[in-house]
């Protein structure tokens, strides 16, 4: 049974549809990450759940209640904004305690709870400061404090880490996960960052063009992307995608290469077009002649622990990840192999995954 349930949710602005009938169920206590490129409608979806945007059509239910027409404050959601949206003229304690002040919670009780929340977030010594006297990470924590103190049924995080520097982002990512484990409150986080999505979510919702492309655990979505979009969007470096056609039963030919066909057991008639995908870490790279497909090393990117190698194969570029030990230099001829069990196939027409 879903705790937050979204049915046929639609949103249009002046007749232009931005969300095209979304259906989504989020279980209680789950950490769901909604991920997608800019303009895919993920923030609109979150703002509609929060009550900051009206619903054009469809239904949003939190617990047993349809919240479509409820005021934001009455939905039981607390939101952490991308730029924190702290009240600049209030101290940290006043910022955190503000929702309680509005709810007319007595002062003593309010102070006690502010101290409790500050303790959870390590903000005890900053309570008398104003937001402008805090670092980005501290502001982020204050924003979370203001959300936590309301004891909401659902936490909404709108790109909460994107204003932080790289180091702080990694730290806050872990802190957010720990906090979720401690509080076990249903959380929805919106991000365009796939690393954030992969590392933080119990489940991922991948969106594109106002539609949900796939819902699943990070491992599922990574291992079996439901569409060419998901395949290309998640993973860094992204999946190699080739235009291909079936040569004869059991093999496909990549367009633009002269090399041998790839063994591939697809139930497709000969000559059908499709998109073939393989993750860079699944491409095997060896000295010339060892594998079936020949190529030339175009560029080597050294990332410390491993190297990303771009190989030219006819007109096609293939990205592969190799370990540090392999000796590779630009311009060197190499051979590649695409293990059949690691290949992904997508319809060239619809982009949907084809079962292999």
């Amino acid at each position: 049974m879903s705790f937050v349930s979204i049915r046929n949710l639609q949103k249009s602005y002046d007749g232009t549809a931005v969300l095209h009938g979304l259906d989504l169920g989020i279980r209680e206590g789950e950490f769901t990450v909604v991920v997608g490129p800019s303009g895919c409608g993920k923030s609109t979806l979150m703002r509609m759940i929060a009550g900051l945007e009206s619903v054009t059509d469809g239904e949003i239910r939190i617990g047993e209640t349809v919240v479509n027409d409820l005021e934001p404050a009455h939905r039981g959601c607390a939101m952490v904004f991308q730029n924190y949206a702290l009240y600049p003229h209030m101290t940290v304690a006043e910022n955190i305690g503000y929702p309680l002040r509005l709810a007319r919670v007595p002062r003593a009780e309010r102070d006690r709870r502010v101290r409790e929340v500050a303790e959870i977030l390590g903000l005890e010594s900053y309570l008398a400061r104003r937001p402008k006297q805090l670092s980005g990470g501290q502001r982020q924590r204050v924003a979370m404090g203001r959300a936590i103190i309301r004891e909401p049924k659902v936490f909404l995080f709108d790109e909460p880490l994107s204003n932080l520097d790289a180091k702080m982002r990694v730290q806050m990512r872990t802190e957010l996960r720990r906090l979720h484990r401690r509080l076990s409150v249903t959380s929805i986080l919106v991000t365009h960052d796939q690393v954030e999505a992969m590392t933080m979510g119990d489940r991922l919702v991948v969106m594109n063009g106002g539609r949900i492309e796939q819902v699943g655990t990070p491992a599922e979505v990574y291992a079996r992307p439901a569409s060419v979009f998901v395949a290309g969007f998640l993973g860094s470096p992204s999946m190699n995608l080739f235009a291909a056609r079936t040569a004869d039963r059991g093999a496909v030919a990549l367009n633009g290469t002269q090399t041998a066909d790839i063994p591939f057991d697809a139930a497709l008639p000969a000559g059908a077009t499709l998109t073939l995908g393989i993750r860079p870490e699944d491409v095997s790279l060896a000295p010339q002649g060892q594998h079936a497909h020949a190529g030339i090393v175009d560029l080597v990117e050294n990332l410390g622990g491993h190297r990303v190698v771009h190989v030219r194969m006819g007109d096609v570029m293939v990205t592969a990840i190799v370990n540090q030990l392999a000796a590779l230099r630009e311009g060197q001829p190499v051979s590649l192999a695409f293990p059949a069990d690691r290949l992904h196939a997508f319809s060239a027409k619809t982009g949907a995954r084809l079962s292999i």
Partner: protein, 288 residues
């Protein structure tokens, strides 16, 4: 980032006139000194004349030979100067308070609410700025007369309870206030009144202070409307009091300058105390 936007109005932009290097620099400073002298000289001359005895009043010497406070004593006894100063202060303070109040309310409505005809209404408000006093003078006078308010301080305040300038300035300031803060307050359970008075207004203190200074000074200097409205010296403002020294028999320069000095003291004090804010407010309003 959000905070920069919020903190911006606090300090005025520093004047940094660049005159280049070498010989251009002393030339630039010389020009500035000359302009400053030109601006300050009339004030100096007013104070100087106010201190001169009657028989030297039209003297062109740059230094006073003998200073006297006779003109001040005369000015204070000839017209109810203190009463007029108090009246002017009351009118200026009340007009400032009311204009800011109406400006804040209208500014919030225009900046946060979407309603049918909003831009039309906003346009109409902006257009009232272009209507000169002379056009609305007679209808306003008739209105005040029908209300039986001729020769009262209330009549000096009534036509100034809202101003397009205040509304437009505050609409602009509220529009540039980050919308996420409004939304955060809504999610925290604040209603519009609470958002306006507890979130928006405390963060627009700089803008409101600038506006207050501008409105106060312009109301203090108002001459024409009080001239139409007031009959008795007791209910008059200081600008009208000054005019009483200019009579058909001639101008009493000494007392006129003494009264002018007294009338400009409060404004001078505002300039001295709030110099930075005054400059900032003039710059912000584009009046520089």
């Amino acid at each position: 980032m959000t905070d920069t936007a919020l903190q911006a109005p606090a300090r005025p932009v520093a004047f940094r006139l660049r005159f280049g290097t070498g010989w251009q620099r002393p030339l630039g400073h010389g020009l500035m000194i000359l302009l400053s002298l030109l601006s300050v000289f009339p004030i100096y001359w007013m104070i100087l004349t106010s201190l001169r005895p009657e028989n030297e009043i039209l003297s062109t010497r740059i230094w006073p030979d003998a200073a006297t406070l006779d003109n001040y004593a005369y000015a204070l006894s000839a017209i109810p100067m203190l009463r007029m100063l108090v009246n002017t202060f009351v009118v200026s303070a009340v007009v400032t308070a009311i204009q800011i109040l109406t400006g804040i309310l209208a500014g919030y409505g225009f900046s946060r609410w979407r309603f049918r005809g909003a831009s039309l209404l906003m346009g109409a408000v902006a257009l009232t700025w272009l209507v000169p006093l002379q056009v609305v003078m007679i209808p306003n006078y008739l209105l005040v007369a029908r209300l039986g308010m001729i020769d009262t301080l209330g009549a000096l305040i009534l036509p100034h309870t809202a101003s397009a300038f205040a509304i437009l300035l505050l609409v602009q300031a509220m529009r540039s206030f980050p919308s996420e803060v409004y939304e955060a307050a809504r999610m925290d359970g604040a209603n519009h009144a609470h958002i306006l008075w507890h979130i928006v207004v405390p963060n627009l203190r700089g803008t409101i202070a600038s506006l207050a200074i501008l409105v106060f000074i312009s109301t203090w200097n108002e001459y024409f409307w009080p001239l139409l409205l007031t009959r008795s010296a007791q209910n008059s403002v200081v600008q009208i009091g000054l005019q009483m020294f200019i009579t058909a028999e001639g101008t009493q320069w000494g007392p006129l300058m003494a009264a002018s000095t007294l009338a400009s003291l409060p404004i001078l004090a505002i300039y001295l105390v709030l110099q930075r804010q005054v400059i900032a407010s003039f710059m912000k309003s584009g009046l520089r």
